[in-house]
Amino acid sequence: MSIPFIDAIRGYLQGDGAVILPEMELTLFGLAVLLIGYPLDESVENNWFWKLLFKNFYAKAALAGTLFSGFTLWKLRGAVAASARGYLPGFHESVVVDSFFPFFATLFLAATALVILLSVKYLDIEEEQEGEYYALLLFACVGMMFMASGVDLIVMFLGLETMALSFYVLTGFLRREKRSNEASLKYVLLGAFSSGILAYGFSLIYGLSGTTNIRNISAVFNPRIGLARAIELSRQSGVMGSQMRQVLSAEYPAALHLEPSLLHQMPVLAAAAFVLIAVGLFFKVAAVPFHQWAPDVYEGAPTPVTTYVSVASKTASFALLLRLFLTVFAASQETWVYLIAGVAVASLTWGNLAALTQTNVKRLLAYSSIAHVGYILLGLVAWNETAFTGIAFYLLAYVFMTAGAFAVIIVLRQKGLIGEELEDLNGLYQRSPASALLLLIFMLSLAGIPPTAGFMGKYFIFLSLIETKHPVLAVFAVLYIVPALYYYFRIVVHAWLKAPGEAPRPVMSSAQAVALGVAVFVSLAAGLYPEPFTRLAHYAFGP
C-alpha cells in the first residue's frame, strides 16, 4: 500500500532527512514536552497510576529524547563508516555527517542527559518544575548539534543562536531570584553583542568568497586545496552559489591564479574577518579577555544550567571554532597562531590566578573553566594530529569532570541551604562521604592528576606542544597545574578537613546518583584505561 504522504516522508527520511534525524527527534521530543504536559496536569493529581507514570513527566520525556537521538546517532555513525566518501552530506551540502559530528553530538547529548538528571530535584526545591525548562534544554541541544554538523555559515549561525537564546532564558529561569535575573541580563547583552561581532565576521567571509558553504570558502581561501575542491565540485550537480558555478564551468584555473599571493598572505579583509570571528567565538568559549560574563552567569544561573552552560555551550562553541579554523583558516595558521597563543596564555594566567581568591564554588569553577579553555587553545597552537586528538580528548574529559563537580554542588542544594559557598562544603566528608569522595575525584581530574581523564587530556596537549617545538608554552602550561591544584584543593580542604557546621546531611536523589555515577565512571575510566577514549577522540578528526 502506498500513501503519497507517507511515501514522501519516507523518501525524505532516506534522503536529506537522514542526516538531520537526531536533531529532528530531539525537536519532536521538545515539542512533545511543551504540548503534552498541559492537558494531563489535572488527571495526574488524584490517580496513583498516572502519578507514577507521569511524575516528572517532562524530565522523563526529555531524557527519552536524548536517548532516542543518541541511538539514531549511533546508527548514523555506522552509515558514515559505510559511505564511500567518508561523510554524508545533506541539504545541498549545508550539513554533513562526518566523523567530527558524531563525536561532538554524543558529547552534547551526554551533557544534556546529565543536566536533565540533575535538574529534577533542583527544580523541585526551587518550585519551578516546568515543561518549558526541559524543552529549552532539548532545543539548545538541537542548536549545538547543528553547530557541529553545519558546514554552511547560515546553518552554523542559526544553530549557535538557537543554543544561545535557550541559554539566556534558562539562565534567568528562576524569575524571582534576583541573581538569576541579573545573570541572564548580562548574558543576553554580552551574548548578543558577541553574536553580532561573529555575524559581521561571517558577512565579510561571505564577501570574500561569494558563498556561504565553508568547503567552498576554504577552497577560495586555501588555494592549494582549491584545485582539488574545484574538480570535486565540478563533478556534482546542483552546486550552490552562482559564483562557484561560474568559476567551475569554464575558468577555474583562472580563478585559482587570481591573486594567489594575496590569498596566501591572508588579505586584509580576511584578516579582519578572522579577528571578528575569533573575537565572537572567544566570547562564546569565555577566553580572556572576553570572559567577563562567565563568572557572573555561572554564579547567577540555576546550578544545573550553570553545568549546561559551562559544559555544553563551551564544547559546542569549540566545535564551531574547530570546524571553521580547520577549514577556512587552515592555510593561514602561521599568521594567526600568535593571536591564539596570546589568548591561550592570557586565559591560563587570568583564569588560574583569579580562581585563587574566589569563595563561591561556582565562581571558582567559572575561572577554572577559563583556564581549561587556555589549555584547549594551546592545542590549536600546536596544530598537529596529537593536538587534535588532545583537544577532542580534553573536551570529552572536561564535559564529564566539570559536570560531575557541579553535580556535587547540586546535591548540596537542599531546602534552606544554597550550598554554593566554600563554607557550605565544610565537613562534607562527615555528612556524606560518597559526595566528598566524588568531589575529590573530580577535583583531581580537573587539576590533571593521574590516573584521571583530566590528566590524559593535558597529556596530549603537552605532548603536542613538545612535538611542535613550543617548549616555553609547554612549561607555562604545566606549571599552571600547580596554582590550579591549590585552588581545587581549597574545595577539597573544606570538604574533607574542616569540621562540619550546622548544615544538614545532603540527600542524593536517585537521578543525581545516576548522573554522578556516569560522570565519575568516565572521569576515572578515561584515566585508567584511556585506550577506547583515545580512539574515540582520534576518530573525531577523521580516520
Binding site: 534576583k178 548578543a192 553583542f193 561571505y206 558563498t211 554564579e299 547567577g300
Partner: protein, 100 residues
C-alpha cells in the same frame, strides 16, 4: 552599482557606532538597540555583496539575521521585564549582586 567599498564603509560605521553604544551605555534597552544596529550593519554587508556577485545567498543570510534579531530582541526584552519586576531599574550599573 557603486563600488563595494562605499557599502563596506557605511556598514563599518554603523558597526562601530553600535559597538560604542554597547560598551558605553548603561541603559540596557539602549544597549539592546545598539546590538540591533550591529546586526543591521551585518545586513548591509551581506546585501551589498549579494548584489556584487549576483548571488542570492547574501540576501537569504540577511533574512535570517533579521529573524535572529527579532528573536534576540524578544528574549532580551522579556528578560529586561523580568529583571525590572524584581529590581525596578534598567541601568547596567545597578546590576550589582554579582561582581560586574
Amino acid at each position: 552599482m557603486l563600488p563595494i567599498g562605499h557599502y563596506l564603509f557605511l556598514s563599518l560605521a554603523l558597526f562601530i557606532i553600535g559597538a560604542i553604544g554597547v560598551i558605553t551605555r548603561r541603559n540596557v534597552i539602549v544597549v539592546l538597540m545598539s546590538i540591533e544596529l550591529i546586526l543591521n550593519a551585518v545586513n548591509i554587508n551581506l546585501v551589498a555583496f549579494s548584489r556584487l556577485y549576483g548571488d542570492v545567498a547574501g540576501q537569504v543570510f540577511a533574512l535570517f539575521i533579521i529573524a535572529d534579531a527579532a528573536a534576540e530582541a524578544a528574549v532580551g526584552l522579556g528578560i529586561i521585564i523580568a529583571f525590572f519586576r524584581n529590581r525596578e531599574t534598567v541601568l547596567a550599573d545597578e546590576m550589582d549582586l554579582l561582581k560586574w
